[in-house]
């Protein structure tokens, strides 16, 4: 399907259409922006840099019930299937991240909880125009208008949005929109290209990732890891806010006689992540944990799935309270390995 155009006066109607499913857009929660269901279309505001919490929180929620049970019982009550959702305003980097998470959750065993939600969700991207200070998507195979993982990409052209349907879901949406949309003209497509081009040029930070997986392997015992992790506080800010981090812990929670088994986000930066019942901890210090985080993204995942598990959104850099900067680490890796 060809590109469509949505003029801003029709935007309200478009939102009404999307609202037939459960619509998630970036909204303020506390002091920060994250994807949350919309109650009224007035809340929809697509002027933002990026959400603090990536949209993975909708598809892979921080807390998710796997099943419920009664004390002493044998029956598992599995929550009802996911409802149809639309995520509007997903940045291309975060959408790419979902394709990375997809690989993990459909690897050896399909994870029904994630995959069903993924299936039931339409992802509408919004091309990036003002990349953040630590964005480096272009270094890891993405870009401000990358389409991977999206069903539909919106580009803000000022007076309206250019819509690029990318999947059947995206096309169906455009069809359903009917008269709200018009066919995009050639200059609209050119304007969008220009927007994409300009955005890409604004990205300053970069890294050459060639050969990094091998370099990381070579540097396994390097003193570098101690140096880059000395300042680490061992918190989960980098991993919880990472759009590709997908580790979880399984917990049982009881309320009187009723209980549930649920999964909650976990972080490899936490001491207890690898703590064994015996008291032994194979990753005893922040050095091993930091090394694991970088290796997992830039080495192990590459080996297992053929892609770097980092989309260059810059959140881990922005949010690290002690300025542990993954690009800095990687450039040191490159330097050390020479």
């Amino acid at each position: 399907m060809d590109s469509k155009k949505l003029t801003k006066d029709k935007f309200g109607g478009f939102i009404d259409l999307l609202s037939k499913q459960k619509l998630y857009v970036p909204q303020m929660a506390g002091e920060t922006l994250r994807f949350a269901p919309v109650d009224s279309k007035d809340e929809v505001n697509l002027v933002f840099s990026n959400t603090a919490v990536p949209p993975k929180s909708v598809l892979f929620p921080q807390t998710e019930t796997l099943y419920e049970y009664e004390a002493g019982g044998t029956e598992m009550i599995i929550p009802e299937g996911p409802e149809e959702k639309v995520l509007l305003g997903v940045r291309p980097c975060d959408a790419r991240a979902l394709t990375i998470v997809d690989k993990l959750f459909s690897w050896d065993i399909d994870d029904p909880y994630y995959l069903k939600k993924r299936e039931a969700t339409t992802i509408i991207g919004l091309a990036c125009q003002e990349p953040g200070i630590n964005c480096f998507c272009t270094s890891v195979g993405g870009g401000p208008a990358s389409t991977e993982g999206l069903d539909l990409l919106l580009t803000d052209l000022g007076e309206g949005y250019l819509l690029q349907p990318l999947t059947e879901k995206g096309e169906k949406l455009c069809q359903d929109a009917g008269e709200l949309l018009v066919d995009a003209a050639g200059e609209d497509n050119q304007a969008a290209d220009k927007v994409h081009q300009e955005a890409a040029e604004k990205i300053v930070r970069n890294i050459n990732v060639d050969g990094i997986p091998q370099k990381l392997e070579d540097l396994w015992e390097s003193p570098l890891w101690k140096k880059v992790s000395d300042a680490c506080l061992g918190c989960g800010a980098c991993t919880f806010l990472c759009p590709t981090c997908h580790c979880f812990d399984i917990q049982d929670e009881m309320e009187g006689f009723e209980g549930r088994r649920c999964r909650v986000w976990d972080s490899c930066m936490f001491k207890e992540y690898t703590l064994h019942t015996s008291g032994h901890n194979p990753r005893p210090t922040r050095r091993e944990r930091t090394r694991n985080r970088v290796n997992h993204k830039y080495s192990y995942f590459v080996k297992n799935f053929g892609t770097i598990a980092c989309v260059g959104c810059g959140r881990c850099i922005n949010n690290c309270p002690v300025n542990i900067d993954i690009l800095d680490i990687l450039s040191q890796v490159v330097k050390e390995a020479l």
Partner: protein, 143 residues
């Protein structure tokens, strides 16, 4: 607030004064509301401040800590530590918007069966005024 609302209060009583005072209230057949549920500890100084938050989280509408009068502590000082801890706990709860009526502390001696009754009636009344506690109650709605 529903008329049926019957507050549920968890009370931590020290073994030597308040628990004995509550026993005396029983022995003297004093009648008071059944909304109070007592957990016996040896000393009010044993009451971990996190118990208070935990009780609210686990469904209590009100919490009471009761110990010996100052100077009467069976262990000499336990109630002084309790007083310091819970004075501040009350401040903290109030500050985050928990109705201060929900958390109370009392001195009830082993001979104050009738004071125990008064305290119970008082805290039950206060909890009724505050209504059902929902703010950070652990709740299946969160599942």
């Amino acid at each position: 607030m529903s008329e049926q609302y019957d507050p549920n209060i968890v009370a931590f009583l020290c073994n030597w004064c308040s628990y004995a005072g509550a026993d005396l209230a029983g022995t003297s057949r004093t009648h008071y509301p059944a909304n109070i549920n007592i957990i016996r500890v040896m000393c009010s100084g044993r009451v971990n401040p996190l118990f208070i938050i935990n009780a609210l989280q686990q469904g209590a509408d009100g919490v009471l800590v009761s110990g010996c009068h100052p100077g009467d502590c069976h262990y000499m000082e336990g109630n002084f530590y309790a007083r310091r801890r819970f004075g501040l706990m009350k401040e903290l709860l109030e500050y985050v918007g928990v109705d201060p009526k929900r958390f109370n502390m009392s001195w009830v001696s082993a001979s104050e069966g009738s004071k125990w009754k008064d305290v119970v009636e008082d805290v039950v009344e206060k909890a009724k005024e505050a209504g059902p506690f929902e703010q950070f109650r652990r709740n299946k709605i969160n599942w």
